[in-house]
C-alpha cells in the first residue's frame, strides 16, 4: 500500500496534512510510520485499567495532539470527546473509549500495511 492509498483508507485529508507539514509529505510519511510506536495509547490503557482520571486525561490529550497533526480525524475526535468527558466529571467512559480504541486499531492496521 502506498501513502495515497493509506490516506484514503483512513480518510486523511491530503490538503490538511500538506498544510501542517509545510508540503513535506516525505516528513509526514516518516511520522505516520512511527505512529504505532507512540506511547500515549498505551499510557491511556494503563490509566483506564487503574481508573486514574489524571492519567486518562493526560494520555488522551497527548494522543489527541498527535492524531490531529497526522490528520487521523476519527481518532482525534474520539480523544477530544474523552478529554472533555473526563474534565466535565463524567464517570462512564466505556463507549467513548471503545470508539477511540477502534479508531486507533484501524489506524495502526493501515499504517502497518504502508509500503508493505
Amino acid at each position: 500500500m502506498n501513502l495515497n492509498e493509506a490516506m484514503q483508507r483512513l480518510s486523511i485529508s491530503e490538503d490538511q496534512v500538506r498544510l501542517i507539514f509545510s508540503n513535506n509529505l516525505g516528513l509526514y510519511e516518516r511520522f505516520l510510520l512511527k505512529f504505532p510506536q507512540d506511547t500515549s495509547y498505551n499510557a491511556l490503557c494503563i490509566g483506564m485499567e487503574r481508573n486514574n482520571r489524571f492519567e486518562i486525561e493526560n494520555a488522551a490529550h497527548t494522543l489527541k495532539g498527535v492524531s490531529g497533526n497526522l490528520g487521523l480525524d476519527r481518532l482525534y475526535r474520539a480523544c477530544d470527546a474523552l478529554v472533555c468527558t473526563v474534565r466535565a466529571g463524567g464517570q462512564d467512559f466505556s463507549a467513548i473509549y471503545s470508539e477511540l480504541t477502534h479508531a486507533y486499531r484501524d489506524a495502526v492496521t493501515v499504517i502497518s500495511e504502508l509500503n508493505a
Binding site: 501542517i20 511520522f31 512511527k34 498527535v66 497533526n69
Partner: protein
C-alpha cells in the same frame, strides 16, 4: 553583562515540546528562516534559554511536559525579565481554561492552537517580532534622547549656577570683602549640615542634599547688588531708614534668582530661593522679611543664617573688627546675635574646633 542584540540579529527559534512529531512539524515550518533549537522538556528549555538569551528570536512552548512544564518555564523567564525581550508562544490544543489564563498573566504573547497551522503561525510570529523590533527601536531612541536631554540639562544647570556664583562673588568684591566669604559660607554650611545629619537623622540630610544646599548657600546675598554703595559700604552704624533698605536685599535676591529661567527649572532653585529669602529670619520670629518663627523657617535657611552670622563675627568688616572664634561661639549661644534653634547651637558647639581648624586655618584669630 551580556550585550543586548538588536532584534534583527536574533535568529534562533526554540521549540519546546515533549512530542517529537510536534517539534518536527514546527521545525519544518521555520527551518528556512531560523536556526532551530529543540527541547523536549522544560528543564532543557531553561538551559537553552539561559545560554541563548541574546540570540533567541522567539520560543514556541508546549505547556504539558514531563520534568518541568511550560508554566514553570514562563515563571522563570518572567523572574529574569526575559519576556520583554523574547516573545513566547504557547502550544496547546486548549484555548480556554486556567492554564491559558495563567500563561497570559505571566506574559505569553499568543497561544498557538493544535493541530498546527504553520501558515497561521508564521504570520502571527512575524507580526509579533515586528512589534518587538519596533518597541526595541523606540526604547533605544528614548534612551538616546533621554541621555541627550540630561546632558543638556546638566550643561544648563552648570551655566545657571556659574552665572549666579560669579554674580555673588562680584557682589562680595563690591562689598569691599573678598570672594572668600561665599566660599566659607558654602563650606561652613556643609559642615554644619553634616553634623546636624548625624545628630538628627529626621532631617533626612543626605550627602547629595547637603551638597545642593551648600552650593545654594552661595547665592544668599545676591540681592545686595540692589543696595546703594553708600549704605553697603557704610563704616558706621546704619540708621533705621538705611537698615530698612538693607533688609530688602532678601526679596531683591529672590527676584534675581526668579529671573534666571534655567535656574528656576533646576534642583538647586528651591533651596537657593528659600535661603536667599529667609537667611535673616530668627527662631523667635524677630527676623525678616516674613517674621517666620521656629520651625516655620526651613532647617537649611536656619543653618545658612547661623553660618552667615558666625562668619561675619570672625571676619573683619568695614564696620567692625574680627572677633575670636571662642567669642563668636559665645555671642551666638548667649543670644547676642539673635535667637537660634537650640539644636543648631548644639551642632555649632560640637564642631567649633573643627570649624576653626579646617575652615579658618589661615585666619590670624
Amino acid at each position: 553583562m551580556m550585550t543586548e542584540l538588536h532584534t534583527e540579529q536574533r535568529k534562533k527559534l526554540l521549540i519546546v515540546d515533549d512530542v517529537e512529531l510536534n517539534r518536527a512539524v514546527l521545525a519544518e515550518a521555520f527551518h528556512e528562516e531560523y536556526e532551530i533549537l529543540e527541547a523536549e522538556n522544560g528543564q532543557i528549555a531553561l538551559d537553552c534559554i539561559f545560554a541563548e538569551a541574546n540570540t533567541l528570536a522567539a520560543v514556541l512552548l508546549d505547556v504539558l511536559m514531563p520534568v518541568l512544564d511550560g508554566i514553570a518555564v514562563l515563571e522563570w523567564m518572567a523572574s529574569k525579565n526575559l519576556l520583554d525581550r523574547i516573545p513566547v508562544f504557547t502550544l496547546t490544543s486548549e484555548t480556554l481554561g486556567e492554564t491559558i489564563d495563567k500563561a497570559y498573566e505571566l506574559g505569553v504573547v499568543d497561544v498557538i492552537p493544535k493541530p498546527f497551522n504553520p501558515v497561521f503561525i508564521r504570520r502571527r510570529l512575524s507580526n509579533i517580532l515586528e512589534l518587538y523590533r519596533h518597541r526595541r527601536d523606540l526604547q533605544l531612541m528614548v534612551q538616546h534622547q533621554t541621555a541627550k536631554i540630561k546632558e543638556q540639562a546638566d550643561a544648563l544647570r552648570y551655566n545657571s549656577f556659574t552665572i549666579i556664583e560669579t554674580l555673588s562673588t562680584a557682589i562680595e568684591f563690591r562689598n569691599s570683602e573678598s570672594g572668600e566669604h561665599i566660599k566659607r559660607i558654602r563650606d561652613l554650611t556643609a559642615m554644619l549640615l553634616r553634623v546636624l545629619a548625624e545628630m538628627h537623622p529626621r532631617f533626612e540630610l543626605t550627602h547629595e542634599r547637603i551638597q545642593l544646599i551648600s552650593e545654594a548657600a552661595v547665592m544668599h546675598d545676591v540681592g545686595k547688588i540692589s543696595i546703594p554703595d553708600q549704605i553697603l559700604g557704610k563704616p558706621g552704624r546704619l540708621d533705621p531708614e538705611e537698615f530698612e533698605i538693607i533688609k530688602t536685599h532678601t526679596l531683591r535676591g529672590c527676584e534675581i534668582l526668579d529671573s534666571v529661567e534655567q535656574l528656576r527649572r533646576s534642583e538647586i532653585y528651591q533651596y537657593a530661593y528659600d535661603i536667599c529669602r529667609h537667611h535673616h529670619e530668627r527662631y523667635d520670629g524677630h527676623g525678616y522679611p516674613d517674621g517666620l518663627i521656629g520651625d516655620e523657617i526651613s532647617i537649611w535657611a536656619q543653618v545658612v543664617s547661623l553660618a552667615d552670622v558666625y562668619d561675619a563675627l570672625v571676619s573683619e568688616r568695614v564696620y567692625k573688627k574680627a572677633y575670636s572664634h571662642d567669642a563668636a561661639v559665645h555671642m551666638i549661644c548667649s543670644g547676642e546675635c539673635g535667637v537660634f534653634n537650640p539644636h543648631l547651637l548644639q551642632v555649632l558647639t560640637s564642631c567649633a574646633i573643627d570649624i576653626q581648624n579646617q575652615l579658618y586655618a589661615d585666619s590670624p584669630l
